[in-house]
Symmetry: C2
Subunit: 409 residues, 2 copies
């Protein structure tokens, strides 16, 4: 059966498994008979400049598909471009649809987070307005795990596995010295503390886990921080604090803003965060004299493809594949979602959900899962997150390092 | 054959494979008939307080040995304790020797770097002075690779593999955005640039590697830094700079000192470094307006046991084993060294070397291996370092995370 062509893009912050979703779209579309699967370079921003590739030029066989799944960051390049409203700037939409028409595109996939789902919403609304039958589907992706209407998002499990592993290793490192010290580990996450909470996964028979975890769901108080650390120092020698970069004080300001001359914002008006751990480390030493250091897990949280969760990468592929099947069956203006059937044994099914319900919304860690004093998470979080980090997928090693698939080096 | 007992300790900054050397000492000594292998907690500092364990209480079978090899940081705990001179403080030495005598110790092993070899030197000198026949052997360990008289040190290969892998992943992440940016990656290393140079290993068929590498072997010049970045920005969109935390300006000051209110030193008088990448990132943005970010690879360079070099961990075990064999055969006041027979195929043999030749000396990257403009390293470096990062050793995964052997959680 001959089908129309496909256009697929990646948007927003990359993850370790975003390319597994791309592989899922590509393979499913090709198997279903789509002649061309085009990939937009740097998302919708690149498409507007007619920058795209035919993915068959890069993915030539099943080995390439496996290599693509093991390649971190966005294979096609990404963007942080916010579509203007169709009322204000109809010419942008007309341009996109004319490019798609020229290429014979019938199915459009956008792999991304919150902001990217806004793009799918705008495009599917415009399609409906002009009577275009191009189908627009969202494929969820974000390490932040903050999308609504889905049990979790592809990318989160691998980030959580990386954070849990790094925490175990950092804790071993911190506790090897005989003297007291406080290690503050900064973890990504703007308003939702899913990633910081993942530091608790390091708690096991061989590791006590972090002594304190601060999530952005709770207001950060400098005095209570000093109290919490003082309490923990009585119990253990080296104290380990995991803190979300997004923690805020009661006046609504990010803690890290105290450290900065100016605050930069991105295209979606989000303030760029960072510096929380170093600031708190300095603050602690200045106020108590205790030796303290800040460690920033940084971009490796989202691009350490050498340490992915097998379940996450499999589900990411499934999200791309199932979005494609849904579009081929006529769906548009929807996003693939995951519905959990049970924690143990873990079981989930995919579904599709109206994009209007998802775009521009954020899902936070439930209040009931955060301990009363706001310094940790409960067992419910472990039951939820543990299944998502299970299993490994070995990188393809060449000359001692992982091999990646690439367009530009 | 019944042998005397063993005392083994770990000292200085930990590595991902320091416990493989401990496993090598333990297994070789037990196999040779030593009744007790004691481990000092927190090195010589703990021994002075009579804090030690009988390692057989923790390493009960061959599975435990494999788990110990996969455990990062110093299993026994470490210290940064400098022995006072025997002339000034003979009582310290008398105390150590009386503890060793009480425990029936005939063989003493210290796994460490430069400063730890000083400890072995002092103890073996004192033994000779008082006519003790306790044998003192050094087992090399340092991610810095800066020990003299040995081709390389256990710990370096795994740190280099981690740095090469992280660089590939960070470069993919940095180049995925359409806009220009400069990413500055800070890598450990005080006076020797072996670790920063390892960032060049990321250069391969699928990756261009960092665009600029600054080693502490060359003087850092702020104006030339701006020129180098400006040149590279013409050639490539996103520019990646790898910089050693130990780079200094012509006045002998660390670049990172510009960023600090005060400078803290450790027991050996070394200044604590850090902050170079963030400082340079701010400096670059202030002077050129280009978007820049700093990434600090931090402690994971020395404790990411989830990503060790198989060759490194095997050689680390061998270093511990061969030190034990040498001590059983009568050697004292020596350190195990590696002598390379050939790069390709890689071949090396171990030997022993007088500790006097090694202690308190630092080996730097040869001048001939650094490019003329001081922004990279030559193929000779790759020929040297590549064999050291080859092969993997899978962690033992439990509930999604690597399992470790431990004394204290």
């Amino acid at each position: 059966m001959v089908r129309g062509n496909v256009m697929v893009g990646q948007s927003g912050g990359p993850t370790s498994v975003i390319n597994s979703s791309l592989a899922g779209v590509f393979k499913t579309a090709k198997d279903a008979g789509c002649a061309h699967v085009y990939g937009m370079r740097n998302g919708i921003e690149g498409l507007l400049d007619e920058r795209y590739v035919d993915l068959s030029d890069y993915i030539k066989n099943d080995l390439d598909i496996e290599l693509l799944k093991r390649t971190p960051s966005s294979f096609l390049g990404t963007c942080r471009y916010k579509l203007p409203s169709a009322e204000k700037s109809p010419e942008v939409y007309e341009r996109i649809f004319s490019i798609l028409k020229k290429l014979g595109v019938e199915y459009f996939f956008y792999i991304g987070g919150n902001d990217s789902m806004d793009t799918i919403m705008q495009l599917s609304r415009f399609a409906s307005k002009i009577g275009s039958d191009i189908r627009f589907m969202g494929v969820p992706k974000t390490i932040d795990n903050d999308l609504d209407c889905t049990d979790h998002t592809p990318g989160y499990g691998s980030a959580a596995k990386y954070i849990g592993t790094a925490m175990k290793e950092i804790i071993r490192d911190a506790k090897t010295y005989p003297n007291d010290s406080v290690t503050i580990v900064e973890i990504m996450g703007r308003n939702a503390g899913w990633l910081a909470a993942a530091s608790s996964l390091s708690r096991a028979e061989d590791c006590d886990g972090p002594d304190i975890i601060y999530l952005p769901e709770r207001i950060f108080d400098h005095d209570r921080f000093l109290e919490h650390v003082a309490e923990r120092r009585k119990e253990c020698g080296a104290v380990i604090v995991a803190v979300s970069e997004g923690v805020k004080t009661s006046d609504g300001r990010y803690v890290c803003e105290a450290n900065k001359k100016s605050t930069v914002t991105d295209a979606f008006g989000h303030k760029l965060l960072g510096g929380t751990a170093l600031y708190l480390s300095d603050f602690l030493t200045a106020n108590t004299g205790v030796k303290s250091r800040g460690i920033v897990l940084s971009t490796l949280q989202r691009c350490a493809s050498h340490l992915v969760s097998r379940r996450d990468i499999t589900e990411a592929f499934m999200a791309g594949a199932d979005a494609t099947v849904a579009a081929l069956n006529g769906a548009t203006g929807k996003m693939v979602v995951f519905e959990r059937i049970s924690d143990a044994p873990y079981s989930m099914v995919t579904g599709i959900c109206d994009i209007e319900k998802i775009a521009n919304k954020e899902k936070c860690v439930p209040d009931a899962w955060i301990t009363a004093d706001g310094t940790g998470v409960s067992n419910e979080f472990d039951n939820y997150a543990r299944p998502l980090i299970i299993g490994e997928l070995s990188p393809f090693m060449v000359d001692g390092l992982p091999r990646h698939l690439f367009i530009d080096k």
